[in-house]
């Protein structure tokens, strides 16, 4: 199956035939991926499958050995890295961190924080935030740029299960409100299946991709994720049913 769900709206970014090598190790081999306006594309795959590398290549932070990245002209990209560790010697509160996006109006900053569910952290030192608060603040900074394309690298790592559900709802709401395209890297199989338009399953190459329901029954996917996947497929199906 080539590219399951048909792209909705305009194409924002497209990687074609991307191969990336780190030293002698081939991290990505001939990967195709694209994200269009208004859709949530989730990248799943085991550790070391090249998810972050693919994101970095699409953001043009890393040069692929071959292949090509095309970005729609004039679009703004918001990015939340997997983690952000501020050295303890650097005094930096959340407000100042958000201002680095270029937006300094305190009301807008407070609004965006309450939007992402991190209401009372504006005056807090950034390195004192909990894992979940940090993820929300990173998202807030990305949103302040009013991105056309939002790239989130493991936005729910270190977030508890309740927080994860909430986070995926938030991401969906952002997509609905802002009509941006969202590229998500994730480990949370069951949530991915319920909160995504398109799933790309990566293991150095694209194992399978398409609608969550199709991917979750794809043999390549089941082989890659084994028991975890079969447990999740039921859950995902259940959720789809409620939606329909």
């Amino acid at each position: 199956m080539p590219d399951g769900g048909a792209p909705i709206g305009d194409l924002l970014v497209r990687g074609k035939g991307l191969s990336v090598r780190h030293g002698r190790r081939t991290v990505l081999e001939d990967v195709d991926i694209q994200v269009s306006r208004g859709e949530i594309v989730t990248l799943i795959g085991p550790n070391g499958s090249g998810k972050t590398t693919l994101v970095r290549a699409l953001l043009e932070l890393e040069k692929p050995e071959s292949g090509q990245v095309d970005r729609a002209a004039g679009i703004t990209v918001g990015y939340t890295p997997q983690q952000l560790i501020v050295d303890r010697t650097l005094p930096l509160d959340v407000r100042r961190f958000l201002e680095m996006s270029g937006e300094t109006d305190p009301e807008i900053l407070a609004d965006i924080l309450s939007d992402v569910g991190a209401r009372d952290v504006l005056r807090q030192e950034i390195r004192m935030l909990s894992g979940g608060e940090m993820k929300r603040v990173l998202l807030a900074r990305a949103l302040l740029r009013e991105p056309d394309l939002l790239v989130l690298d493991e936005p729910t790592a270190n977030v508890d299960i309740h927080g994860q559900v909430e986070f995926y709802n938030l991401i969906r709401r952002i997509r609905d409100d802002r009509q941006c395209g969202i590229l998500l890297v994730s480990h949370d199989l069951h949530l991915v299946m319920s909160a995504t338009d398109r799933v790309v399953c990566l293991n150095g190459h694209v194992c399978c991709s398409g609608l969550p329901g199709d991917v979750s029954t794809d043999p390549a996917y089941l082989e890659l994720f084994g028991d975890a996947a079969s447990a999740v497929a039921v859950y995902a199906h259940d959720h789809d049913h409620h939606h329909a």
Partner: protein
Amino acid sequence: MTTITIMPDFVLYALVSGIGVAIVMGATGVFVVWRRMAYFGDTLAHSALLGVAIGFLAGVNVNIGIVGVCLTIAIGMVFLRSQRHLAEDTLLGILAHSSLALGLVSISFVSALRIDLMTYLFGDILSVTPTDIGWVYGGGTIALGMLAWLWKDLIAITVHEDLARTEGVNVLRTQIAFMTLFALVIAMAMKIVGILLVTALLIIPAATARRFSRTPEQMAVFAAIAGSLSVALGLQGSLLWDLPSGPAIVVASALIYVVSIALPIRRAA
């Protein structure tokens, strides 16, 4: 060496140039602390001796030799670091010690020119001339101007390089500009505290400032103040008890740091 009884001029020169250097070093030093570049600073400082030798051998101004060599090493590091063949501290160790040794060897070739090695190794603020003050304030103005220009981008890449890059910061340009600034500051500071103690005046005042600061800018200003205070106190000690001036300034800044951590002030956040 000297006493304070007469010659208010040389005391004034020392104080004025020392404070000028301390302000620039305080403001630059915060980045050395935030970006964990202490060892890198040492490496640049050590390579400065090679710059002195080259300056003498080539018959150009010593300051130009220093800036040239520091800049070469600094920019070389930016590229070597991206190769990742060796751990960074190993790479710095190789550069720091081989350039210091090369500097010492080269200086021995030109010993006929009566280079006073101790002056370069430990500084001699009491022999500062009005011309030196010109260098300090000219170079210092350029350095502070560069720092102001780079400030926003430097903070951005200090917090997260990839995030800064996706938000449009030209990381390589900013790094190279900061290295240039760094080389300039080292050249300026050598005369005051000497090659072996330059890094101290970058780091200790910044460390002192940390506890009292809530923003990056505050920390830079407090570091500049702590550095200036160190110069004033160190100079005083040097004049009163005939201490070597460079080491006295560093001891003063260390004392200020110790006193500051003993102060009962709530740690920021």
